[in-house]
Symmetry: D2
Subunit: 135 residues, 4 copies
């Protein structure tokens, strides 16, 4: 089991009715996507055609920051607040959608955009799965 999964199991109190499997998948997807977006922004920066990738870099940076914050909020269970969790997941799904769409446009030309787009899609799906399980 992953460290994120083991930490969820070791939480000393109730998780507040959240689906543990979906929560774990969403935390892992956010953490992976944040790293992929940081790396993709930097890879774009090293491309000859960097000027055409300016929007992609900006979108990558936003997505990395929002995914990082989301992973942190989802890793906390004390005093769980469904409203805040929902608003943060909505923002994260929006960031991943925007970044996934942008990276997809460059996926045929740049492998880093292809890998990053996949991560964004996975993270967006995981956010929406968790959102719908929150009821």
């Amino acid at each position: 089991m992953s460290v994120a999964g083991r930490m969820l199991e070791a939480y000393p109190k109730d998780l507040g009715g959240v689906d543990r499997q979906k929560l774990q998948e969403c935390i892992e997807a956010c953490v992976e996507c944040a790293q992929a977006c940081t790396a993709c922004a930097d890879a774009c920066l090293s491309e000859e055609m960097v000027a055409e990738l300016a929007t992609c870099i900006r979108t990558n940076l936003d997505c990395a920051d929002v995914c990082d914050a989301t992973a942190r909020v989802l890793s906390r269970h004390t005093g769980y607040d469904a409203n805040l969790t929902r608003a943060v997941l909505e923002a994260c799904a929006a960031a991943c959608k925007t970044c996934g769409d942008e990276c997809t446009q460059h996926a045929e030309m740049h492998e880093h955009c292809r890998v990053c787009a996949e991560s964004c899609r996975r993270c967006e799906a995981a956010c929406r799965e968790l959102l719908s399980s929150l009821g």
Copy 2:
């Protein structure tokens, strides 16, 4: 003028129709609130009655993370995306509302919660101001 204001003035392209004054105020409020929440979580941790402040600490940590991400997203103007900005501002207003309410409950007993609650209120208001100016 603040450094945040000077950086907005020095941006080489158009800000995409955003109200510069409201944008600057919101960036500054997010940055201030993130720091206040980080410090308030730590101050709560040092109180004798820390067990009663567990929810306050958690809420502070969430608010710090969401304000940090929001300040970063708002500091970028290249390839501006109103949908993402809106979703992030909604999440930030929600985090500040939750944290401001929680800190207000301890404001009479703990000066750090009183100062932090003020910062949260200011940041929530700045997010809502900017949101409504986005149309």
Copy 3:
């Protein structure tokens, strides 16, 4: 291969003489440790004996922040600067050492501290491995 590994492979330029395997392991260890420390701080916050865990929570929060920043710096290769990489890795190894030592003291009593201590040890080792490979 992990997403972090695929992103390293997809980087369009030279990695500047860094050992790719050690770099990948260090990025992955930082990302994992940041999440574990965020979760451990929150789990400690939910324990009855939270007052005795105040230093552990603080150390967890520091370690999460330093590991996050380190993962980001290591995920960028454009304009590689060995001096900065070294200073950041030293800070990260120090944060992981402090947090690993602190969590180890509570490892018999709290499973989350045991899992987190393991993550800190792995991350400290990965930072030192990468540091020594930088020559």
Copy 4:
């Protein structure tokens, strides 16, 4: 007095022998520099000559991340650990030095680099001041 200053005053325990004025200045300089670097990276991204600014953007992003983490570590006083504080301040001074030097090279051409270089210099100086006061 700034919010950072008020939060330091409201801390319920001893600050562990740290010079409060230097600590406040360093927190404020880190927070300001993180925002300036995030904005400068984005402004560089919008310049026609973005390809020539790739190293500057990367350095800005690193400096923002390290300053953010440093501001957070310095905002916590519970269970103060001088070794960790020192290592983090060294990394932050290194990041600010690198970024200040890089931005200075573009300061005549780009106002955002000029403002950002000033912020980096201030933050580097504040880190070194605090470091030397730690003895």
